[in-house]
């Protein structure tokens, strides 16, 4: 009998050399439905990596398993050479995380939250203070002063979470929809900070369903649909001969002519 081959820990880590993030057979089911189906993925160190796919494709589930928030049913997630589920403290020290739709410590102000999280990571209080002040000024959150995070707008929340993710200078950033529902000014600030981070040698993995954004920002891209990776590599490779990433994406997931047919009554209302 031939069993499916799941790599052992050492083997998986060895195969992940040179990769900032490596997923090996990562799997998760909810109620018998495979939401993430044995994903293998390599994210090269120093890349700006876009994870794209329609709603419900498994992007958030995958990122949650990589960040240690959701236990996988099978497979391994290796971040900066450390197996996330075998050695969580080491892995979590090397990653910065921005999840989607989760609360923060709402009754702290932005500076208080950064100070708390930095000191909780064991960083000296003065270093935390200096870095937090710099992050807050670069991310243009200084105007918020001591406002509670509960009263922040969506863009401000994303920015303070990004500040918390960058505070300990991690090697990899894992961002779930960092620019979703963010105003253009905040979006530009976030994009600039992320570009500076990758220019300094950091790796960014981020999920999105806005193709133009991914095409604009990313060096690499992976397309995920129905829990499987259906294309992955350099942006140019995935795009291929298509006019845009959008076209290539719709072709890949087999939804090229959606929204056609029917609705002939539309626009005929007399009211």
């Amino acid at each position: 009998m031939i069993l499916p081959h799941y790599p052992g820990q050492q083997e998986a880590i060895a195969s992940a050399a040179g990769q900032a993030v490596a997923l090996r057979g990562l799997t998760k089911s909810f109620d018998g439905r495979r939401v993430v189906d044995a994903i293998d993925l390599d994210v090269p160190t120093g890349s700006f990596f876009g994870l794209v796919g329609p709603n419900g494709a498994g992007k958030t589930t995958t990122l949650s398993m990589v960040t240690g928030l959701l236990r996988p049913d099978a497979g391994r997630a290796i971040v900066a050479g450390v197996d996330v589920w075998a050695d969580p403290p080491a892995a979590k020290a090397r990653m910065g995380v921005l999840p989607e739709g989760l609360r923060l410590f709402e009754r702290l102000s932005g500076p208080e939250m950064l100070s708390y999280l930095g000191r909780l990571r064991g960083m000296p209080a003065q270093v935390v203070k200096d870095r937090a002040t710099e992050l807050i000024s670069v991310l243009e959150l200084a105007d918020a002063g001591n406002k509670l995070v509960a009263d922040y707008s969506t863009g401000m929340r994303k920015k303070i979470t990004l500040a918390a993710a960058l505070l300990h200078s991690p090697r990899v950033l894992l961002l779930d929809e960092p620019l979703e529902a963010v105003d253009p000014v905040s979006a530009r600030i976030i994009r600039t900070v992320l570009s500076r981070y990758t220019a300094a040698g950091g790796t960014v993995v981020f999920s999105s369903h806005v193709m133009a954004l991914v095409e604009d920002l990313c060096s690499h891209v992976a397309v995920i649909a129905a829990g499987k990776i259906i294309a992955s590599g350099h942006l140019a490779e995935v795009r291929g001969s298509a006019a845009s990433l959008d076209d290539a994406f719709l072709h890949l997931i087999g939804a090229a002519d959606v929204g056609e047919g029917g609705l002939s009554w539309l626009g005929s209302s007399q009211a």
């Binding site: 708390y116 064991g122 406002k147 509670l148």
Partner: protein, 530 residues
């Protein structure tokens, strides 16, 4: 249009029953039967007052006033219970305000609560409709009372709906909830203080005669005034009641029009945190982590009403309750009950963050920090808890001249406090449960589907804390029966056993948390949706 509102509300009311099945449905039906029996009992009791006419009117006057106050305040305390309360749900539909108002009134009258009120009011009408010739008048008064309650309640909640969608408004709602709790405690204390048996009815009837000229009170006294032939007074009472209803209706229409045409700002009206508190402790080792975590908890207890209000309630209960349950000497020992409640404050330490727990999952992933976190949360409960207990024991000792019982009482209290906290910490990791994060009500403590879990966790904290206090309790018994020196043994035992329990709990809790963190996170994140 009114019919559509009525059928919509009817579907909302019945869908809860239709959505359940099996055991849940049976328990719901049992609950209904109990509620019906309870309401029936009140109604029969009220109707029986008919034979005591001199008591009937004062009682019904008080009932009408309390009922109206309850209707007006309840949306502030438990906002969002009724989906038809929020006019914004209808803002985009092409409905004229007058029709909307009539529709909302109809919808508001359909439901379990209005039905129960209707039945009770029928009993009240029987009580005050003496002789039977004025019973129809009493019945009309009861109907007007119900409509006034609903209209005023809706007017208040509509004008507050913009406020209640903001953080500060909900914080205010929590403060009002606490105020109601204080009123309740005061009421109970008053009743229990007993005193002169003849004084109480006299006080109550003079209160009722003052209340008789408030709008609901006036309504309740109309039948007896007519029966007594005091038609001028009756006319005045009718005028007061009618004017109130008309004003309430007008207030509601104005509030409705305003709330349908203005968009509440999500961020305006929010307040800054005041001076920032950034702290200097660093999480190196268990002690450092404890300092960092306890520093944040202390800040949040001051700042977050969801954490502050329970402490105020506990302080009140711990200090007042011994007076209520124990008369005379020995009341110092009743303070131990408060100690258990303080212990419970360290409970569900992961659930209280909601999905914000992910920030701790990212930063607290080794055993040293996990233990430090447990000690940090424990410390944040031990410090205020100790202050409350010392004050409560001191008050009881001074009041009853019970100084010799202080060591034994402190022994039991510290054992219950530390033991309760120890168990609460472990139960936080073993039986975590979600806490509603929308803060719509101070009294909402569990989310749908986790009621059993919440109950099991709370019960094990109280029982576990009591068990850990047993050695100190035995020494206390010996101090009362054998020799007073056992009181000091009780104090030592309480601190030693409680302290050991906490030390052990920190290890077990940390292991459990590190093992099950993603599962704990999944359970407590459900609090975001409520």
């Amino acid at each position: 249009m009114v019919g559509i509102f009525a059928s919509l509300k009817w579907r909302l009311v019945t869908s809860r029953l239709r959505a359940t099945s099996g055991a849940t449905r049976i328990w719901m039906i049992v609950g209904f039967v109990v509620a019906v029996a309870f309401v029936g009992l009140i109604t029969v009791g009220l109707a029986a007052l008919r034979s005591v006419p001199e008591a009937a009117t004062p009682v019904v006057v008080t009932l009408f006033v309390v009922q109206l106050v309850a209707w007006v305040l309840s949306p502030l305390v438990a906002f969002g219970v009724d989906e038809t309360v929020d006019p914004h749900r209808f803002a985009l539909l092409p409905i004229r305000p007058q029709i909307l108002q009539r529709g909302l009134l109809t919808a508001s009258l359909i439901g379990y609560l209005p039905l129960a009120n209707m039945v009770i009011l029928f009993g009240a009408a029987v009580a005050i409709g003496v002789p039977w010739s004025v019973f129809p008048v009493a019945l009309v008064c009861a109907v007007v009372q119900l409509i006034t309650c609903v209209v005023l309640s809706r007017a208040a909640s509509t004008s507050m709906s913009a406020l209640m969608t903001s953080r500060r408004g909900r914080d205010l709602g929590m403060a009002v909830g606490f105020g109601i709790f204080v009123l309740y405690m005061g009421f109970v204390t008053l009743l229990n203080s007993g005193g002169d048996q003849t004084g109480v009815p006299a006080g109550a009837s003079s209160l009722a005669s003052a209340l008789a000229w408030t709008p609901p009170g006036a309504l309740a006294s109309v039948p007896s005034l007519i029966a007594a032939g005091q038609l001028a007074k009756a006319g005045l009472a009718v005028l007061i009641a009618a004017a109130t209803l008309a004003l309430a209706w007008w207030w509601w229409s104005v509030a409705l029009a305003r709330s349908l045409t203005t968009v509440p700002s999500a961020t305006a009206g929010s307040s800054p945190a005041g001076r920032g508190h950034e702290g200097h402790a660093v999480a190196i080792g268990v002690v450092g982590t404890m300092e960092v975590v306890a520093g944040r908890d202390r800040l949040l207890v001051w700042r977050d009403p969801m954490r502050r209000m329970p402490w105020l309630m506990i302080a009140l209960l711990t200090i007042l309750y011994p007076f209520l349950i124990v008369r005379g000497q020995g009341a110092v020992f009743a303070v131990a009950f408060g100690a258990l409640l303080v212990g419970a404050q360290a409970g569900n330490q992961y659930g209280v963050e909601g999905s914000g727990l992910w920030l701790h999952l990212q930063t607290i992933s080794d055993r040293v920090r996990a233990r430090g976190e447990v000690f940090g949360h424990a410390l944040a409960a031990i410090v205020p808890g100790t202050v409350i207990l010392l004050i409560a024991v001191a008050i009881q000792a001074v009041w009853h001249d019970d100084y010799d019982k202080i060591p034994a009482a402190l022994g039991v209290c510290f054992a219950a406090l530390l033991g309760g906290i120890a168990v609460a910490c472990f139960v936080s990791a073993a039986i975590p449960y979600a806490m509603p994060q929308s803060r719509t009500s101070l009294f909402a403590s569990s989310v749908p589907g986790q009621k059993g879990r919440t109950f099991a966790a709370s019960l094990s904290v109280l029982l576990g804390g009591a068990v850990i206090a047993v050695p100190a309790g035995i020494a206390t018994v010996l101090s009362l029966t054998v020799a007073p020196v056992w009181g000091w043994v009780s104090l030592l035992l309480g601190l030693a056993v409680g302290g050991f329990a906490l030390w052990l709990s920190s290890r077990l809790t940390a292991d459990r948390y590190l093992e099950r963190a993603p599962e704990i996170f999944a359970v407590v994140s459900a609090g975001d949706r409520v």
